[in-house]
């Protein structure tokens, strides 16, 4: 069997500040096979987004290893960028307010020395379902869904094989979320991408991912396949609480689980 596309082993991320050490991620391990889609699910403070940032070198790795195809990820920023790209949660914050769509997409092409930039921009815009009329617009002339499509296009324009998705639809309306999720699934099939997706929404992860890891307070709770989640074959109480919560409100039912009072 070939090496997993992404392997995270015993990853620990520690933030230090004001004399306190906080382990945002504490000994987390998982593997993602090529062309698979893996989900990290949890509530705020679970460390799920920190894992993505650690893979990208945006968060300090205190312990553990991250490898891509069995090797350490390329240390140089440019070489790494050719393999791994990320889509951020907030489409309003992830696009430079003064850069047109054209500029957003042509900059990575310029950095990596692509020649046929015009053709690539046109084709990646078509890939994410934006017409050529969007090419010279500024972010404030776009809706949230359109911005997120531009962010996806930016991630894909240099043809990476791994896409990290940090709550890519949680800032969007439900109908727009459906469009973006469909788009991501289609692109994964067409381009043979590997997804590592973070979300607080169990239903979104279930829809998008073959396997998932439930996290809480920086630690692993349990790893599940989609089939076991669908048949509610879960072993941890916390996962069960998340499952119940994802179905909405139930009158006359006690709290599924004690919730910590404050942080």
């Amino acid at each position: 069997m070939s090496a997993p596309r992404i392997e995270v082993r015993d990853l620990t991320v520690v933030f230090e500040g004001r004399g306190r050490r906080v382990a945002a991620v504490d000994g987390v391990s998982f593997t993602v096979a090529p062309r698979q889609s893996f989900g990290l699910v949890g509530e705020s403070g679970s460390g799920k987004s920190t894992i993505l940032r650690a893979i990208c070198g945006l968060a300090p790795v205190a312990d553990g290893t991250i490898s891509l195809d069995g090797e350490a990820p390329p240390a140089a920023r440019r070489a790494f960028a050719r393999r791994v790209q990320m889509v951020f949660q907030d489409p309003y914050g992830s696009l430079h307010p003064r850069h047109t769509v054209d500029r957003v997409l042509s900059e990575p092409l310029e950095i990596h020395g692509f020649k046929d930039r015009d053709a690539r921009i046109a084709s990646v815009l078509a890939d994410v379902g934006l017409g050529p009329e969007f090419r010279f617009r500024l972010p404030h002339q776009l809706s949230g869904g359109q911005r997120q499509r531009v962010a996806i296009a930016r991630a894909l324009v240099t043809e990476p094989d791994i896409l990290l998705l940090d709550e890519p639809t949680s800032a969007l309306d439900a109908s727009i979320q459906a469009e973006i999720l469909n788009l991501l699934n289609r692109l994964r099939r067409e381009k043979g991408l590997t997804f590592l997706m973070v979300s607080h929404d169990l239903a979104v992860i279930d829809h998008m991912c073959d396997r998932l890891l439930v996290m809480r307070n920086g630690r692993m709770v349990e790893e599940l396949s989609r089939t076991s989640l669908d048949s509610r074959a879960v072993s941890a109480d916390y996962t069960r609480a998340l499952l119940v919560a994802s179905e909405g409100f139930r009158r006359g039912q006690p709290a599924p689980e004690a919730v910590p009072i404050s942080r």
């Binding site: 949660q89 430079h96 307010p97």
Partner: protein
């Protein structure tokens, strides 16, 4: 006339379009949007007109001036406005005040232009580098900025001019040397918030180098605050230059410079008040123009003031 109308509306539609068809078109639309926002504030328009008048006066000074600025006429000294074709009267050497004001605008404008092109650029560079990199770089650069900021501008300018000899060039250099720290502060404050944003993280993940991020991603976000600040500071810079001229440390006679003109006119303030007040009014109007324009620019450009 009638054939012009459709063309006009075409241009308007082109400028207001929300589907730009090229990079240039996108830029034209953004510029037009900012200009029409500016144009809705009458005070800003008034300020802009004053600056425009200064620009035109400086550009066409020899055509506008009725006399040579340093042509003396000792027989017609200290004459009141209107006397014998002298629109604003004559000074103590019988030179035409109107012509000297007109030619003096070139001096004022070049002082403004040189300072506006050097100090803010330097400040922007220091500020964005410090703000983006953080850590030790930030600490060293900002302490250096604080040290320069601690020097009183006029005193440093006086010392500089005293060491190198009075001239308008030295006065400008002295002003520029002391004017940049506030821009560094403004740019750094802006850069500190910008560097945490997702679009900077995205640029980094796209493989962009740090200089590229500073230059193309951070600087554009800091630029508008600095431009606003520069415009509002212009009045102060003109006054400092005029102040140096007044003290005899800036422009040297017979160069027509507004501050020096006030200085030489002050001996006749009680007997022939126009000699000193007219250049004073010129300084006042130009300073007012820059301040009004700066206020309007702040409303349009400053990210902290309300977005439409």
């Amino acid at each position: 006339m009638t054939s012009l109308a459709p063309e006009k509306t075409d241009l308007r539609a082109w400028l207001n379009s929300d589907t730009p068809r090229s990079r240039g078109h996108a830029r034209a639309i953004a510029l037009w949007g900012a200009l029409s926002d500016l144009a809705r504030n009458p005070l800003t328009v008034f300020g802009a007109l004053l600056i425009l008048a200064l620009l035109l006066t400086a550009a066409f000074a020899p055509l506008i001036a009725t006399h040579a600025p340093d042509a003396q006429n000792l027989a017609g000294r200290l004459q009141p406005p209107g006397w014998n074709g002298h629109l604003l009267g004559t000074d103590e050497l019988g030179r035409d005040i109107f012509s000297r004001i007109v030619h003096g605008s070139r001096v004022t404008l070049s002082v403004v232009a040189i300072v506006a092109l050097t100090a803010p650029l330097f400040g922007l560079l220091i500020g964005t580098v410090a703000g983006t990199l953080g850590g030790w770089t930030d600490r060293v650069l900002m302490r250096f900025t604080d040290i320069v900021l601690a020097f009183p501008r006029l005193v440093l300018a006086l010392a500089f001019v005293a060491a190198r000899g009075p001239s308008i060039e030295n006065a400008v250099i002295a002003i520029a040397l002391t004017a940049w720290p506030p821009y560094a502060r403004v740019a750094r404050a802006e850069a500190l918030t910008v560097r945490r944003s997702d679009y900077i993280a995205a640029a980094r993940l796209g493989g962009a180098s740090t200089p590229r991020i500073i230059l193309f991603h951070v600087v554009p976000m800091c630029l508008s605050s600095v431009i606003v600040r520069v415009t509002l500071d212009m009045a102060g810079i003109i006054l400092t230059a005029a102040g140096l001229g007044f003290l005899g440390l800036g422009a040297q006679p017979p160069l027509a410079e507004w501050g020096a003109m006030i200085s030489s006119g002050r001996q006749f303030l009680l007997t022939n008040p126009w000699v000193a007040t007219i250049p004073g009014i010129a300084i006042l109007l130009v300073s007012l123009g820059f301040n009004l324009l700066g206020d309007g620019l702040r409303d349009v450009l400053d990210p902290r003031s309300a977005r439409r």
